[in-house]
Symmetry: C2
Subunit: 197 residues, 2 copies
C-alpha cells in the first residue's frame, strides 16, 4: 500500500474517491522555512511546488523503507509573479482575495513519488483561474461562510465548495486545482503495478 | 429561490457545494421518446443536449409560475458520432465501456433557464475525455465497484469517484463533465440578482 505524505483533506479525498488504497503519514518538514529559502534563491512557482513536493515525499520515505511515498504541493502565483502563502488570519485572507480580484492567476500543483529516500517519479501541472471582480460585500459574505475552513488553502478557496463563486472561468485540470495532478499519478501507479490496469 | 428541474445527484451536489439555494422539482417528460425523435431528425450532440435541457426546464417552469427553473442535460458522443444512452444493464455498461476504450469522446452538457414556460438563458459546453486502453479484467473489477451506481450515468462513469480510473486525460471543465456548465450559470444568476455579486 502506498503512503500519502500529506495532511491535506482534499488530496486524501481525491485518492479515496479514485479507489486508491493508502496510508497517511504527515511529513516533519519546516515547509515555511524551506519555502522562504527557495524563494530567496529566486525560484519560480513550478520549481517551488516541485521542490516542496519532493521534500515532503523524501522526508516521509526515509522513515518508510521500501514503500512508495507520494508528496505533493500547490503554489498560487498572481500575474505579477507574487506567490501567495496560506492566509494566517481572516484579514490576510480578505487582503489576498482583493489581490486576486479581477485577475488571472496560475495554480501549480506538483507530485513526487519517492522510495527509500530517493525520488523515483514526478509530475507538475498548471491551471489558470480567472477571478471575478467581486464586490467588497461579497468578500465579507464569502469569509463568513468559509473562514476558517480556508486557512490551510493557498488562494483562499475550496473549488469543491463555495470557492467556485470566486471565478468567472477556470482552465486546466480540476485535480491540479484540488492540489495534485491525479491522472498522471494514477497512470504511473498502474505502470509500476500498484493499481490494476 | 430557483428551481432545479433534475433528479440528478451530481447536479444537485454541484449547486449545493456552490452555496446556491434551490428546490428540486423533477420534470415529467418522456426523455427517451424526445431523444429518439430528435435523433431521428439527425440532430447532433450539442443540439440534442440543448433541446433536452430546454424540454426539462420548460416542462417544470409551466407548473412554477414566476420562478427561475434550471434544466440540464448531458450527452456522450464517441469519435464516430455514436451517442451513448444510459446503460440499462451491467452487460450493456460493459459493452459501452469497451466502445469507449482507447478512444476520445466528447461530453456535452447544456443548461437552460426558463421562466413561465419560456427559455430566458442558455449555455452549452463540451469536454473531451481520453479513455485508457484498460484490460477486460479492469472492466469487471470496475463494474463490481460501480454497478449499479452508474446506471443513471451516460458514459458509465462518475468522474468524482472510481470513474476517474477510466481516463488518461480529460480536457475541459469539471462542471461540464459532472453534468452542467456551472460557472456560466452562476454568472447569469448574479446578473439577474439571484446571487450576490
Amino acid at each position: 500500500m502506498i503512503v500519502l505524505a500529506s495532511g491535506s483533506a482534499s488530496r486524501r479525498a481525491m485518492l479515496e474517491a479514485a479507489g486508491v488504497a493508502f496510508d497517511v503519514v504527515r511529513p516533519h518538514v519546516d515547509e515555511d522555512a524551506a519555502k522562504d529559502s527557495l524563494k530567496a534563491e529566486g525560484i519560480e512557482a513550478r520549481g517551488l511546488a516541485d521542490a516542496l513536493a519532493e521534500l515532503k515525499a523524501i522526508s516521509v520515505s526515509r522513515r518508510q523503507p521500501g514503500r512508495i511515498v507520494i508528496g505533493s504541493d500547490s503554489i498560487v502565483a498572481l500575474a505579477d509573479g507574487t506567490m501567495l502563502d496560506k492566509p494566517e488570519s481572516r484579514d490576510r485572507a480578505a487582503e489576498q482575495l482583493c489581490m486576486m480580484r479581477g485577475g488571472t492567476h496560475r495554480l501549480v500543483s506538483a507530485v513526487v513519488a519517492a522510495r527509500d529516500g530517493v525520488p523515483v517519479w514526478r509530475d507538475v501541472d498548471t491551471a489558470r483561474l480567472h477571478v471575478r471582480a467581486f464586490s467588497d460585500a461579497f468578500v465579507e459574505t464569502y469569509l463568513d461562510a468559509e473562514w476558517p475552513a480556508i486557512a490551510g488553502c493557498v488562494g483562499c478557496f475550496r473549488i469543491e465548495g463555495p470557492g467556485v463563486q470566486l471565478f468567472s472561468k477556470v482552465e486546466g485540470s480540476q485535480f491540479t486545482i484540488l492540489g495534485m495532478p491525479l491522472l498522471p499519478l494514477l497512470g504511473w501507479l498502474r505502470d509500476v503495478g500498484e493499481m490494476p490496469a
